[in-house]
């Protein structure tokens, strides 16, 4: 049984259906990526999985239990963390406070230790730990967003466009981090527009178009798929 099973998920904004029946699986320890153009429904999918949006129909099973009727904070407590699109760090709080909030769903134990671990992973954040998060650079904010998501000790980590708007060096650093997390056994659901980098890391990839899954395969397979190369990797 997969850790996360999504069955025929449908989501609508008012009368407009944004997700028209998506099914996908994430196995424990895998990296799964959703790729697709703007408006394909990637972000909507993640926001639905984490309870910010309500599906019209379909099921989300996490470790065998239904998630789709739970509130967002209950879903976090089950072990699903979501680093949202645009990073969405809390700008008026310090770096440290942001991290502590990431552990809000946990009670007491070992939080300080996990903060230290995040600082170890991202030394830049350690330097700036007492600074207001709003003053960080884009790349640093992304590190903070990932670190903050890790603070809940998730069983599934969902990353939405972590490379968006970053410099090439930062993009490299962020993908390196994802690779490290994968190596450490973290289960990751990754949404990316940078399809080649994402597919290179992924065990499984799903290609989304206007709210539907149009193609599925292993990361390497999709990387070499002609249609994918044409549509998403910018080759003719």
């Amino acid at each position: 049984m997969s850790l996360l099973e999504v069955r025929d998920l449908r989501v609508a904004y008012g009368a407009i259906e944004a997700i028209k029946g998506i099914s996908l699986d994430v196995e424990e320890g895998q990296v799964v990526t959703l790729i697709g153009t703007n408006g394909a429904g990637k972000t909507t999918t993640l926001r639905t999985l984490s309870g910010l949006l309500r599906p019209v129909a379909g099921q989300v099973l996490f470790d065998g239990a239904r998630l789709d009727k739970l509130k967002a904070h209950e879903i976090v407590a089950r072990g699903v963390a979501h680093a949202p699109e645009g990073r969405r760090i809390f700008p008026l709080m310090t770096v440290e406070e942001n991290l502590e909030l990431g552990a809000y769903s946990r009670k007491g134990e070992a939080i300080a230790q996990d903060v230290a671990e995040v600082f170890e992973r991202f030394p830049r954040l350690h330097e700036r730990r007492a600074q207001k998060a709003g003053t960080l650079s884009g790349g640093e904010q992304q590190m903070l967003a990932i670190g903050r998501a890790l603070m809940s000790r998730p069983r599934l980590l969902m990353l939405d466009e972590p490379s968006m708007g970053l410099s090439p060096i930062m993009i490299q650093l962020i993908f390196d981090t994802v690779a490290e997390l994968k190596a450490a056994g973290t289960t990751i659901l990754l949404v990316e527009q940078n399809a080649s980098a994402a597919l290179a890391l992924a065990d499984t990839g799903y290609v989304l178009e206007t709210g539907r899954v149009v193609l599925t395969g292993t990361g390497p397979d999709l990387l070499t798929d002609e249609n994918v190369r044409k549509a998403y990797l910018g080759e003719d």
Binding site: V11, Y13, G14, A15, L52, L53, R54, K71, A72
Partner: protein, 553 residues
């Protein structure tokens, strides 16, 4: 723990519902029989309870309301998707009326022993009725999305009939003397309205109005013009109607500000007050420093201009800010106006105000005297009434033109998303200022007339609660529509006018009315199409983006 309990309740309700299709009709039929029989039996053992409750075969008092709701039981037989909700609303209201009446009888008579058999039979019927709809499964065909188009005259008459029916209900309500019976009436009315709303009646009427606007308005105008001729020379209702006119004109002005531009003005009455004081000081009362007597038309214009100018002065610095600041600043302005008028009493008369303002005179025409038209004598107030009618018509015309214009579209854009509007190149501040100034101008104009209708002005007529009152008229009638504001003003003026027994509860009811309207029908009784879409799209988004807890609430 509670979740488990709720689960169990839900499953047993579901089980009940699976039998419901078979069970409900018999329950409903039994309920109907019991209610009809019960209302024809005596409800009280003693005479003297309002509605002749000790008499049999004479369903008067609250028993009428119970009977009026009973036909809703027939909804079990109709396969409409919302029949269950509609039926529940009606039967719960029925139950509420019965329970409330039983309590009232027991209180007046000194105990439940004085409640007679009829009441208990009806209570049983009401309970069965509620059960019939609780047991009903939620199925059936959805209501048709679009209604067949009928001939124009029929559709327009339907709207006019609906308005007339509500005014008739109003007049009826005014005649209900006994408080307990009035409460019963309100309960029945509320339940009935919810039920009709669930069945789509108001949606339909709204669509009709939107389709046949011009004709409807012509018919309503015709009805309004003939109204004084039906009064047989009596001035009572004409005086009420003239007051309704004053407030309706002001409410339409407020509707420009709130309904069209989306600006909440909580000091609106102060602009009205500015107009009234201008009329008192410079009109034929001649109470001002110059002791001057301006002709009436000049006074209206002067009052409107001064008020509009004050509006612009207040609005200019504050309209750059977010809407809710404006609400507080206008509220503050209203309070300052009140304080200033109270304090600087050289000309305003201070707390006592200015009284003995004579009737209007234009040339040799005295508004205070009765006149005979077409052989019918019209009381003096008819003059004011017609003046108000003209003023309201004028204000409506301005409103309609604005609404349909470029300006109106700019306002809608600002109301919906100010940031986006300014990004599209709309100068939001000047458009908001325009709305605010127009609102103030219209209020000023109706204020000048009010000074003469009421024959006096005093600071206490221009306080915050009066602003809320106008706001309630706008919200109740429907934000962004003209008839809405008129109907709202009519209801809010006319109801307290006669209900002396309830005048003490007037404000409480206003407050609750605002809360309940915003919760259940924020678009008001006669919604503008745009408004309705806005509020209901928001509902749709609600289900999506709201946290589950709040979506349920």
């Amino acid at each position: 723990m509670t979740a488990a309990l709720l689960d169990r309740v839900a499953t047993s309700a579901e089980r009940l519902r699976s039998h419901g299709t078979r069970l409900s009709p018999s329950l409903a039929a039994a309920a109907f029989v019991l209610v009809v029989v019960g209302t024809n039996l005596p409800w009280a053992t003693f005479s003297g309870f309002p509605g002749l409750m000790s008499l049999a075969l004479y369903p008067a008092g609250s028993r009428i309301y119970v009977l009026a709701l009973a036909p809703a039981l027939a909804l079990v037989a109709v396969r409409f998707s919302r029949r269950r909700q509609a039926g529940l609303a009606a039967t719960l209201a029925l139950l509420a009326v019965v329970v409330q009446t039983i309590i009232a009888i027991a209180r007046d008579g000194g105990g439940l022993v004085n409640v007679s058999v009829g009441a208990w039979v009806t209570l049983l019927g009401a309970l069965l009725g509620v059960a019939a709809f609780v047991a009903l499964p939620d199925d059936g065909a959805p209501l048709p999305r679009s209604w067949p188009v009928l001939p124009a005259l029929v559709e327009a008459l339907a709207v006019v009939f609906a308005v007339a029916a509500s005014l008739a209900l109003l007049v009826y309500a005014l005649d209900v003397e006994a408080p307990s019976q009035f409460v019963g009436f309100l309960l029945a009315l509320g339940g009935g309205l919810v039920a009709l709303n669930r069945l789509g009646l108001f949606e339909w009427l709204g669509a009709l109005y939107a389709r046949r606007q011009a004709l409807t308005l012509v018919l309503m105008a015709a009805a309004a013009v003939t109204f004084p001729f039906t009064q047989g020379g009596s001035s009572y209702w004409l005086r009420v109607a003239a007051n309704v006119g004053v407030f309706a004109a002001a409410a339409i002005g407020l509707n420009v500000v709130v309904g069209l531009a989306g600006l909440l003005d909580l000091g609106y009455i102060a602009f009205f007050g500015v107009g009234a004081y201008v009329a008192a000081l410079y009109g034929n009362a001649g109470l001002g420093p110059s002791r001057g007597h301006l002709p009436f038309l000049a006074v209206i214009v002067l009052g409107a201009l001064v008020s509009g100018l004050v509006g612009v002065l207040i609005g200019a610095p504050t309209l750059r800010l977010r809407g809710d600041y404006l609400a507080i600043v206008t509220l503050g302005f209203g309070e300052i106006f009140h304080t200033l008028v109270n304090t600087y009493d050289a000309y305003t008369g201070g707390p006592n105000g200015l009284s003995n303002i004579p009737d209007l005179r234009q040339g040799s025409f005295d508004f205070g005297l009765p006149h005979t038209v077409f052989g019918v004598e019209l009381a003096g107030f008819a003059n004011y009434y017609y003046l108000e009618l003209v003023l309201v018509a004028l204000v409506m015309f301005v409103f309609a033109r604005l609404n349909a214009s470029r300006i109106g579209r700019a306002w809608v854009a600002i109301r919906e998303d100010e940031l986006a509007a300014s990004a599209m190149g709309i100068n939001t501040v000047s458009y908001k200022l325009l709305a605010f100034g127009i609102g103030a101008t219209l209020a000023g104009a109706s204020g000048t007339v009010q000074a003469h209708v009421a024959t006096q002005v005093s600071p206490d007529s221009f306080v915050f609660l009066q602003s809320v009152f106008l706001l309630a008229a706008v919200v109740l009638g429907g934000m962004g529509t003209v008839p809405g504001a008129v109907v709202g003003a009519a209801i809010l003026i006319a109801v307290p006018e006669k209900l002396r027994a309830f005048s003490d509860y007037r404000l409480l009811l206003f407050g609750l009315l605002l809360v309940i309207l915003m919760r259940f029908r924020p678009e008001g009784m006669i919604p503008s199409r745009r408004r309705q879409r806005e509020f209901h799209d928001a509902d749709g988004a609600d289900a999506l983006s709201a946290p589950p807890g709040s979506a349920v609430a």
